[in-house]
């Protein structure tokens, strides 16, 4: 039943996304979009000692894409880079605590892809 995915927590994070906007200082930035849906998420990371010490996101998308990004930023703060690079679709589903159809799964993964892309960019610089 797909209505189940629109639980309070997802609607709440969609309507009031956490860590939305830009970092106070310039960080490592990566953008990913999903051309099928028009989801477009940019992650901004401040990384110190292989840890994410601050994080923001911005962009547009459906409730699943925005809520996933919001929940992911909450989780990622103060996490080690190695923890974040090993996250996969199951970790995202766990964060969202829902089941998603293959089509909507893509929406949930846009933010993770952006986060991991930013970490990769950062890695290349050190």
């Amino acid at each position: 039943m797909s209505l189940d995915i629109y639980k309070e927590i997802i609607l709440d994070h969609y309507k009031h996304p956490r860590n939305f906007g830009h970092l106070p200082r310039e960080g490592t930035v990566a953008q990913v979009n999903n051309p099928l849906c028009g989801d477009d998420i940019t992650m901004e990371l401040e990384i110190t000692n292989n840890k994410v010490v601050d994080i923001r996101f911005h962009g547009q998308g459906c409730a699943i894409a925005i809520a996933s990004a919001s929940l992911l930023t909450e989780f990622a703060k103060n996490q080690k880079l190695t923890t974040l690079t090993t996250m996969n679709k199951d970790s995202m589903l766990e964060l969202l605590s829902v089941e998603l159809s293959p089509n909507r799964l893509k929406c949930a993964l846009v933010s993770l892809e952006a986060l991991q892309k930013a970490i990769k960019t950062h890695g290349l610089h050190t």
Partner: protein
């Protein structure tokens, strides 16, 4: 009793899913039993390939196949040798860029289309222009999503070799004043080749290529109760005769020698290889089916449904819900692409799916138009003669409930 109540019985899929509200006929229409039976009849009673056999079954298959060409010609008021079969609108238009487009357009020329096109009538021309180093001009739309007739004149010049325009928009449902548009283009340059995308016109409007005076016209069977994988390209005989084939192979050949080949007369010259025989044979059944209902009756029913839809949406969803083209000065067919700030079409379509309501969410292969209005995506409900007022009520209630979850 409404038109739909009787006709729904002709659609097996509707009895297989009695709970389903199918509001995605713009993507593809459902198929009546006569069409499904005709496909199956070919495989069970004809079976043979066309054009080649001397035996009875092959001749019967050829006859059934060519009969569709005559029915199509009649349907659009063309001559029978002006009707080419393709796999669909997309292939019909791509055939043109490889034939007349290739021959006609040179560096420094212009190719023009409009902002309200489906990608199938936009990207091929854009790519042709890029390849030929020709200018690519796009006629814009006004704030109502109507074609901007004053901007039509600016890009269209003597240098404009080709102008491609849709008859009906698959996003706004706007019916362009196509005969007037063609007249305007002809007045600027009588030699401009005019290509009409009629994919969304054929399900709702009867077409007369002689009256509108286009050079080419393309459409797909599957949007008008016919099979998938069957399309038509109409072309004026004088053009078809000067066009070189672009696909070579069986069926399109007159003579083959080691040094040289000669080709059949149009339309066969453009139909290389074994076509979708069963689909083309069955296609005439869908034309007969629609003619039997009459376009007049279809229009009347659709207008009634749209009136209910628009007034229910206004009542239940309020002013924050916008419909692309709702203030058009032109007539519109039975579809509505909607958007409301704060809600995303994919979420809405997903929620409606839980109620067995099928709508489309996205840009509907019309990114230039969505970008122009700064809308990332819209939710499109598209109706046909088999939809009922009751379904419209169910949709409006479910849609407004879904919207209220977000805004």
């Amino acid at each position: 009793m409404s038109l739909a109540t009787e006709l729904r019985k002709d659609f097996p899929i509707l009895s297989n899913y009695p709970d389903m509200v199918y509001f995605d006929s713009t993507a593809t229409s459902l198929k009546p039993r006569v069409v499904i039976d005709a496909i199956s009849h070919y495989y069970t009673h004809l079976g043979a390939n066309i054009h080649r056999g001397i035996y009875d079954l092959s001749e019967a298959a050829t006859e059934a196949f060519e009969e569709t060409r005559a029915v199509v010609a009649d349907f659009i008021n063309a001559n029978v040798n002006e009707v080419l079969f393709t796999r669909g609108t997309t292939e019909s238009i791509n055939l043109l860029i490889h034939t007349i487009g290739e021959q006609l357009v040179q560096e420094g020329d212009e190719v023009a289309t409009t902002l309200m096109e489906h990608h199938a009538n936009f990207v091929p021309w854009q790519q042709l222009a890029l390849r030929k180093k020709a200018a690519f001009k796009v006629v814009t739309v006004d704030e109502n999503a109507d074609l901007d007739m004053s901007s039509l004149k600016a890009p269209l010049q003597k240098k404009t070799k080709l102008f491609a325009c849709t008859y009906v928009s698959n996003v706004s449902g706007i019916v362009n004043p196509i005969a007037d548009i063609i007249k305007t283009v002809r007045a600027i340059n009588p030699h401009t080749i005019i290509v009409i995308d009629a994919a969304q016109a054929v399900p709702h409007i009867s077409i007369d290529v002689a009256a509108i005076d286009c050079d080419f016209l393309a459409f797909s069977a599957h949007k008008m109760c016919g099979p998938t994988g069957v399309g038509v390209l109409y072309g004026k005989k004088s053009h078809l005769q000067t066009m070189q084939p672009f696909m070579f192979g069986g069926d399109m050949i007159a003579q083959v020698a080691i040094e040289q080949s000669t080709f059949q007369e149009p339309p066969y010259r453009f139909e290389a290889g074994t076509p979708h025989i069963s689909g083309i044979i069955a296609f005439k059944e869908s034309i007969k089916y629609l003619n039997n209902i009459t376009y007049k009756a279809i229009k009347k029913h659709e207008e009634m449904l749209m009136q209910v839809l628009i007034s229910e949406l206004r009542k239940q969803c309020g002013a924050s819900l916008k419909i692309i083209g709702q203030h058009s000065v032109n007539p519109r067919v039975a579809l509505a692409a909607m958007y409301a700030e704060g809600s995303h079409p994919h979420d809405l379509a997903d929620i409606l799916n839980a109620d067995h309501i099928c709508v489309r969410a996205g840009h509907h292969c019309a990114m230039p138009l969505h970008k122009h209005f700064n809308i990332p995506a819209s939710t499109r409900a598209s109706l046909y003669f088999y939809n009922t007022e009751d379904e419209v009520q169910r949709f409006a209630a479910a849609f407004s409930k879904a919207l209220r979850m977000f805004i």
